[in-house]
């Protein structure tokens, strides 16, 4: 359950595999401490005590689901994997519902509830509506003044006043960003409570194919073999065709590349690209880069590129074109896959990047 603790502590580990840190102090002149240290070192283990179990639903377009609440939260807090099905990204549905229903739920549960990102967005929207209303009032006044035939000096006075009061409204809004505790109940809410009076958890965490492959192939987190995943998504390994495999491999190669250099990689579907790159993670910083993964000899109409760049630029992100090149042959990749040598297959791809940016002559003249 999300607790009120600082983000720096909550999201301390960037990967679900944690480093060994609880080794005792090593005292050079005390041999017993060596033994103790060695014993602890020997006993400690990087992997998880129990691998996270997943369900693969549907036949043709598979969904990879994690539905244990603790495991969902664990994947989110350690590297921001997956997306809550009923939330924006972090699985917060339960916390939000508890906050909304208030007294109906256990008091204990309520104490834990935190202000979810979705709530914050809602509140900002309301504030913006307030702001716009106030602005409209001034616009109406200005119009009235013009109709009455006011001078330009009068108008500019009014405009100055408008700015002044709008600015103070903004300041006020910032100050009054306090917790409003209003419970809203809906008629169907009673069905959400089970016989013990506890909220039923409807939400589960959905992993994308690349995320699941990373969590099973690169680091042992999920209790599934990468080849099982590949079989479910791409078909039986023995009869794979390159044109079916390549798109997914291309995506995974790019994903692994950025993940392995420390980026938090999330889907870029909302910005029309393949991936968004966050430093540390979404709670800390806005994503700075949009990544589009391309084949080396792939080309599109200019409009395709310019629309991508416009969306990315409008969100103050830099567009990165990531080209994935196969350095061996298609047959070799298929052969390696059928021999279950994913490591060698993946490392025969090479990644290179270009930055695509609109260039405005007037701003580059000095």
């Amino acid at each position: 359950m999300a607790k009120l603790r600082p983000a720096g502590e909550r999201y301390k580990y960037p990967l679900p595999i944690h480093p060994i840190e609880n080794l005792p102090q090593l005292i050079p002149h005390n041999p017993i401490s060596w033994v103790h240290w060695l014993y602890c070192y020997y006993k400690s283990f990087n992997g998880l005590p129990k691998r996270i179990s997943i369900k693969i639903l549907a036949r043709k377009y598979c969904h990879i689901i994690v539905d244990d609440p603790d495991e969902m939260l664990f994947l989110w807090e350690n590297g921001f994997f997956g997306t809550g099905q009923l939330s924006r990204s972090e699985p917060t549905w339960k916390a939000r519902t508890i906050a909304r229903m208030g007294d109906l739920c256990d008091e204990v549960d309520r104490g834990k509830s935190n202000l979810a990102l979705e709530d914050i967005t809602d509140r900002r929207r309301l504030q913006r509506i307030d702001f716009k209303k106030k602005r409209q009032q001034f616009e109406d006044q200005l119009l009235e003044l013009r109709r009455r035939g006011g001078t330009i000096e009068d108008e500019s006075k009014l405009v100055a006043k408008e700015r002044e009061s709008l600015r103070s409204l903004k300041d006020q809004q910032l100050l009054s960003f306090k917790k409003q505790n209003d419970t809203q109940l809906r008629s169907e809410d009673s069905e959400l409570i089970d016989e013990k009076g506890e909220l039923v958890n409807l939400e589960s965490l959905e992993l994308t194919f690349v995320e699941a492959l990373f969590l099973s192939f690169a680091i042992p987190v999920l209790d599934v073999s990468p080849y099982v995943l590949i079989e479910r998504f791409l078909g039986p390994i023995a009869t794979l065709e390159y044109r079916n495999v390549y798109p997914s491999i291309k995506q995974y190669v790019a994903y692994h590349h950025y993940r392995s250099h420390g980026w938090c990689v999330r889907s870029g579907i909302k910005f029309g690209c393949d991936y968004l790159l966050y430093k540390r993670g979404p709670p800390f910083q806005h994503a700075q880069f949009c990544v589009k993964v391309l084949d080396v000899d792939e080309t599109h109409d200019y409009t395709w590129y310019s629309s991508l760049a416009r969306v990315a630029g409008g969100a103050k992100k830099t567009l990165v074109l990531c080209y994935v090149k196969n350095t061996t042959t298609e047959e070799e990749i298929l052969r390696l896959l059928s021999k279950k040598n994913l490591t060698k297959a993946l490392s025969s791809y090479e990644v290179s990047e270009l930055i695509y940016r609109r260039w405005v002559p007037g701003k580059n003249r000095d």
């Binding site: 500019s156 692994h256 420390g262 310019s306 490591t343 791809y349 990047e353 930055i355 940016r357 000095d366």
Partner: protein
């Protein structure tokens, strides 16, 4: 909607988008003050326009403001003196045999950056330069029936005045047309533009003249491929273990970076040249290809400057490729096309000055095979150049703090965002031109993982259990 709110110019916007990355277009000038500007030139820059009204409100005031703004524009346009003075007119003759034009008696400011003079004191213009100057009204275009023109003879038979339509008909292909449009566009914006392939002037290059030693190159290439092979095998062995089922059972990682380092060996990346040495090495190893590339660098671009030397221009600030969006024979460059363009770049690699503040370009480029600084001193124009370098230093200090004072994280972000070698693609769509800057990036050499501070590390043992289960 038109701009009406003139008086709000002095006031600050409520929410000013401060970020310079915000992609707004060039500011449109406010005509109401342009007329005043031309009279008293104390003000150096054009004033910006005020805020726009959101919608027509049906009042007279708005109409009045609109009327005033419009009138100011038309007044400005009407009042300016137009046309050329006959005495100052410069005649240029188009010589079909060379597809070039000649100015027998060259004079005018434009000569600082355009055209090349021959030994007879005549100035030769390339077709696009000729059309551009004619379109601006700087020169009067004539057709030259017979060449050479006997200067001084004002024989009407030799002079057929040309119209703009005539001039445009001289372009032989769509490609030449596109070239002209991009040239004229950049020229009007104040840039100094030259054809990249035009090496008639004293040619400056970033790359040292090298003795052509094929053997040495082949050896280097062979050595490189052996090294690459070896590295690949080594990585493969490491990876096979890392991604094997025993890895986390046997090995103990005591910090997150160790895990990341293991992970990052899997996907090889292409590293672009980043230093002067890298650039030279890459040029040395690059082999000359016989195939005609899909795209070629067309223009060299210099930022507007007063001490531009037409005879030995030095390294350009940008290089431009032209892509016509509507031409069925062209496609937007693929990665391989981009690669070839990057290999052929030869400009003032601006990312080098991001690494080193005091890079002196004259010591790193070669004119006619000698270091440019030596070349310049031999020209005895050192004084002028000194002035310009002082000027450059002042510019730099104005631009912001020196590189060394930036934090490593800020520098890293800068490297990632602006990349390394770059060039411009001018995309033609009908008559519209938009520019794109393509730069090489290197995410493979930058690690951005978060290293927790030691204070957090100390109370971790407890947290680990909490957060794991």
């Amino acid at each position: 909607m038109s701009s009406v709110d003139e008086d709000s110019k002095q006031q600050v916007l409520i929410e000013t988008p401060v970020d310079s990355e915000a992609e707004d277009d060039d500011v449109i000038q406010d005509w109401s003050d342009a007329a005043k500007l031309s009279k008293k030139t104390t003000q150096t820059s054009l004033p910006k326009r005020g805020e726009k009204d959101y919608e027509p409100d049906g009042t007279d005031v708005q109409d009045l403001l609109l009327y005033r703004a419009r009138k100011a524009m038309f007044d400005t346009l009407y009042n300016a003196a137009r046309g050329t003075t006959l005495n100052n007119q410069v005649k240029a003759y188009y010589v079909p045999a060379f597809s070039e034009a000649v100015i027998p008696q060259p004079k005018g400011n434009f000569l600082q950056t355009i055209g090349k003079s021959d030994s007879n004191g005549k100035c030769w213009l390339q077709l696009h330069e000729f059309v551009y100057l004619a379109e601006r009204g700087t020169i009067a275009p004539y057709y030259c029936k017979s060449f050479p023109i006997i200067s001084g003879t004002e024989n009407q038979d030799f002079e057929i005045p040309l119209s703009m339509q005539d001039l445009y008909s001289f372009f032989k292909s769509q490609h030449e047309m596109d070239r002209y449009f991009v040239y004229a566009h950049l020229k009007r914006l104040g840039f100094i533009v030259k054809l990249t392939e035009d090496h008639s002037t004293d040619y400056t290059t970033f790359f040292a003249p090298s003795g052509d030693s094929k053997v040495k190159r082949k050896l280097r290439l062979a050595f490189r491929s052996v090294l690459n092979f070896w590295n690949k095998q080594k990585c493969l062995a490491l990876n096979t273990f890392f991604y094997g089922s025993w890895n986390f059972l046997i090995r103990k990682f005591t910090s997150t970076p160790q895990i990341y380092l293991g992970l990052s060996k899997l996907i090889p990346t292409c590293t672009p040249p980043k230093t002067i040495k890298d650039l030279h090495r890459e040029r040395f190893l690059a082999s000359k290809k016989d195939t005609v590339p899909h795209l070629e660098l067309v223009f060299d671009l210099w930022k507007p400057q007063t001490n531009f030397k037409k005879k030995s221009p030095g390294l350009p600030d940008f290089q431009v490729v032209i892509h016509n969006k509507n031409d069925a024979n062209q496609h937007f460059p693929t990665y391989s096309d981009f690669r070839e363009l990057f290999h052929s770049l030869d400009y003032k690699f601006d990312f080098l000055s991001e690494i080193d503040d005091d890079i002196s370009w004259n010591d790193h480029c070669y004119t006619n095979g000698v270091l440019r600084s030596e070349y310049l001193s031999s020209l005895k124009s050192k004084a002028v150049q000194m002035k310009s370098s002082i000027h450059n230093k002042m510019l730099r200090s104005k631009r912001g703090k020196p590189i060394k004072s930036c934090s490593p994280a800020a520098l890293q972000t800068k490297r990632l965002k602006s990349g390394y070698r770059s060039f411009l693609v001018a995309v033609m769509d009908g008559g519209l031109i938009s520019f794109v800057k393509i730069s090489e990036a290197d995410f493979g050499s930058e690690n951005v993982w978060y290293v927790p501070s030691s204070s957090l590390k100390r109370n971790k043992g407890r947290n680990r259990k909490v957060s794991q289960r």
